[in-house]
Amino acid sequence: MSLLALTLACRCVFQLFYSFFKSLVGKDVVVELKNDLSICGTLHSVDQYLNIKLTDISVTDPEKYPHMLSVKNCFIRGSVVRYVQLPADEVDTQLLQDAARKEAMQQKQ
């Protein structure tokens, strides 16, 4: 069973997206920040606030970045993230939908 499936199988799913991101550690993602900066990198770790650590970063959108040529790893505060672009084939949409329903039910109770 995938890590995500295991985590979600336990009833404590108050942190749906935290578990979801933990299952994506090691994958390449593109983080778009609220200041329009887009950073591509490998997801190293995530925490409950959805702060993100990326390794081996590179900037994707040429017009919208400061010069970060020497920066290899970075820590991104969760609150400044606008989007995270994910590899579609790494995401189990059925599992996510089921987990979202469970989370919604638990949230109500």
């Binding site: 749906l16 997206f17 979801f20 991101f21 609220k34 959805l50 969760g78 609150s79 993230v81 606008r82 989007y83 995270v84 672009q85 994910l86 590899p87 579609a88 995401v91 949409t93 996510l96 939908q97 089921d98 987990a99 979202a100 329903r101 469970k102 989370e103 919604a104 039910m105 949230q107 109500k108």
Partner: protein
């Protein structure tokens, strides 16, 4: 509201014979989603009932605004965001903060350019497609079914 989300009367088939029996409003107020039925009624008390447990119980009542979003899971939705952005995609997950995972997303960014001389407002929109996207909830302003065009 699509067919499988409407309230249904629980049906449990008796193991001894092939007839179906219907419950009215189940005491616990739960209605189970299609395919498998799990009927728990403290009023039945009859021996020999087969209960087929469902993996995920859902309540069919829409009580709070977040329930409306739950109805849109696996459907296409329209999301209005801050900074004149709009998203159209398939909703795969959400939480109480309105963090969301959308698939097959089209993002539209609208900008207004004002002509210096004529003070005309020129609306420009830029679109891009993203196969799978996590959206942080603090940027979300509105969630709705997709707007019908034409």
């Amino acid at each position: 509201v699509t067919g499988d989300r409407k309230t249904r009367i629980c049906e449990v088939s008796l193991p001894q014979n092939s007839s179906l029996c219907r419950f009215g409003d189940v005491e616990d107020g739960k209605v189970w989603k299609g395919g498998e039925w799990y009927c728990l009624s403290s009023r039945s008390g009859l021996p020999g009932w087969h209960f087929i447990p469902l993996q995920q119980p859902t309540t069919n009542t829409v009580e709070e605004p977040l329930d409306l979003i739950r109805l849109s899971l696996d459907e296409r939705i329209y999301v209005k965001m801050r900074n004149d952005r709009e998203l159209r995609g398939r909703l795969h997950a959400y939480d109480q903060h309105l963090n969301m995972i959308l698939g097959d997303v089209e993002e539209t960014v609208t900008t207004v350019e004002i002509d210096e001389e004529t003070y005309e407002e020129l609306y420009k929109s830029t679109k891009r497609n993203i196969p799978m996207l996590f959206v942080r909830g603090d940027g979300v302003v509105l969630v709705a079914p997709p707007l019908r065009v034409g």
